[in-house]
């Protein structure tokens, strides 16, 4: 069953993850949902698909008052990212959903009204969470053509969406990457196939390597810490993407 785990705590400023779920039916891709808390408010990054809403909702609500969630952040438009939107809005119709302007008229097919959405322009934006500034960092074409990461410079955490994702076998269910070389084998095919542009990739690597990052948190797979963050960025910079079609 899904469970909320805290990965960063500094007073009322916290990050938590509802990590992968070994009990989830195998026909659904496994996802991590991240919760950022500050000043009595919370933001849920990539709330997940409709089919796992009940698991995510109960995992979060077991630990915190779900009404503190005021913001949803959708890194991109995929169903595993945001198809639970209508259910979250049923729970709290005042929720705001931050996402790329590019998907502004697509995501409402999952639910919401004109008041629900806060469009992020291509160059990015900052989202204030109880006074804490979170940066929506452009990651276009990685893999979606309107795609953002979320950076918390105070916690030094980067939520990277599908970048850094790994499709791990069930026996590797740890929250963190422990052995980079072993772990990255489960990332290679995913990135080669899903990431479409080497140019976009290099731009991302260049920009992100200048940020202070203690944890790089992907939507699928395990979290990279410390030196593994640099290792991942270098590995990704060297990888030829847009080339993963099997023949």
């Amino acid at each position: 069953m899904k469970k909320l785990e805290f990965i960063y705590e500094d007073g009322a400023h916290k990050w938590a993850v509802v990590a992968r779920d070994p009990a989830k039916p195998s026909h659904l891709i496994d996802t991590n949902e991240y919760l950022v808390l500050n000043g009595g408010e919370a933001l849920l990054a990539d709330p997940g698909g409709m089919e796992i809403f009940s698991a995510v909702f109960s995992a979060i609500s077991a630990e915190i008052d779900p009404y503190t969630i005021r913001h949803l952040f959708a890194s991109h438009q995929d169903p595993d990212v945001i198809s639970s939107l209508a259910l979250w809005l049923d729970f709290n119709p005042d929720l705001k959903c931050h996402l790329s302007w590019l998907w502004g008229s697509f995501i409402p097919h999952f639910g919401g009204t004109a008041d629900t959405f806060v469009a992020i322009p291509d160059e990015g934006a900052t989202i204030s969470l109880g006074g804490l500034m979170l940066d929506a960092i452009p990651a276009h074409y990685l893999h979606s053509s309107g795609n953002f990461n979320l950076y918390d410079r105070k916690a030094r955490i980067l939520f990277s969406g599908d970048v850094g994702a790994a499709l791990l076998p069930p026996e590797e269910s740890g929250l963190y990457v422990e052995n980079f070389d072993r772990h990255i084998r489960h990332s290679r095919d995913f990135h080669r196939r899903w990431m479409g542009s080497n140019k976009a990739k290099l731009s991302w690597c260049e920009r992100v390597s200048r940020l202070d990052i203690d944890m790089l948190c992907p939507q699928h797979g395990a979290i990279y810490r410390g030196e593994d963050v640099k290792r991942f960025i270098n590995w990704f910079a060297d990888l030829d993407v847009g080339s993963g079609i099997r023949d």
Binding site: M1, M50, F53, S54, A55, F57, S58, S61, A62, P66, A86, L87, D90, F91
Partner: protein, 200 residues
């Protein structure tokens, strides 16, 4: 008749689709009435003075065909809103089951889940009302079409009588009159079947 019908809720898409199949059939036959009417007018024109009565009947038939068209458009609109509401209902049911799933994971979630559940249920209630209003309207509209067909039937009888006075054109006129009768009867029987289904 299908046993499923007895337990099929009025909000089911399956039920709407089934009704729509019959309505489509009626619409198809109705568009045939227009052709029959045109044909009748043409023949009446060719036979001139000998079939003035027949000409009157055939122009009334044109009018009947136009009214039938309008009535069919009304049926189509009702089906459209029934499909829309059945889809909305399906979506609410899905939402409902997701919130129920939260409670089955953890009973203590009740306090969080009850307000959204109440909202979903309220929405289901008003959709359900809308749907039963639409089925009622559909039944009324169907009765109107049946009445219209009743007038179509008397037109076909008049056409038969007029055909007798058609002199050497009598056989052709009789053929046309039979055509009218067949088409109206076909619409009639399909509509009656549909009405029986809707009454369940």
């Amino acid at each position: 008749m299908d046993i499923m019908n007895d337990i099929e809720p009025i909000s089911s898409l399956h039920r709407v689709v089934k009704a729509n199949e019959d309505i489509k059939k009626v619409i198809r036959i109705s568009s045939g009435v227009n052709l029959v009417a045109l044909n009748a007018m043409l023949i009446a024109k060719r036979s001139g003075e000998r079939s003035r009565g027949f000409a009157v009947v055939s122009s009334e038939l044109r009018l009947f065909s136009r009214n039938l068209d309008a009535a069919m458009t009304g049926l189509g609109e009702l089906i459209f809103s029934l499909v829309r509401d059945a889809a909305a209902m399906q979506r609410q049911r899905q939402q409902h089951s997701h919130f129920m799933a939260v409670m089955s994971i953890n009973k203590s979630m009740r306090k969080w889940v009850e307000p959204p559940l109440a909202r979903v249920e309220a929405r289901m209630g008003s959709i359900e009302e809308e749907i039963s209003r639409d089925w009622h309207k559909l039944r009324l509209q169907l009765n109107r079409v049946l009445q219209l067909c009743e007038s179509g039937r008397s037109l076909s009888r008049s056409a038969k009588i007029e055909a007798v006075y058609g002199g050497d054109m009598s056989t052709t006129l009789k053929q046309v009159a039979n055509q009218i009768e067949e088409t109206v009867d076909e619409i009639f029987s399909t509509l009656k079947l549909l009405r029986m289904q809707l009454a369940e």
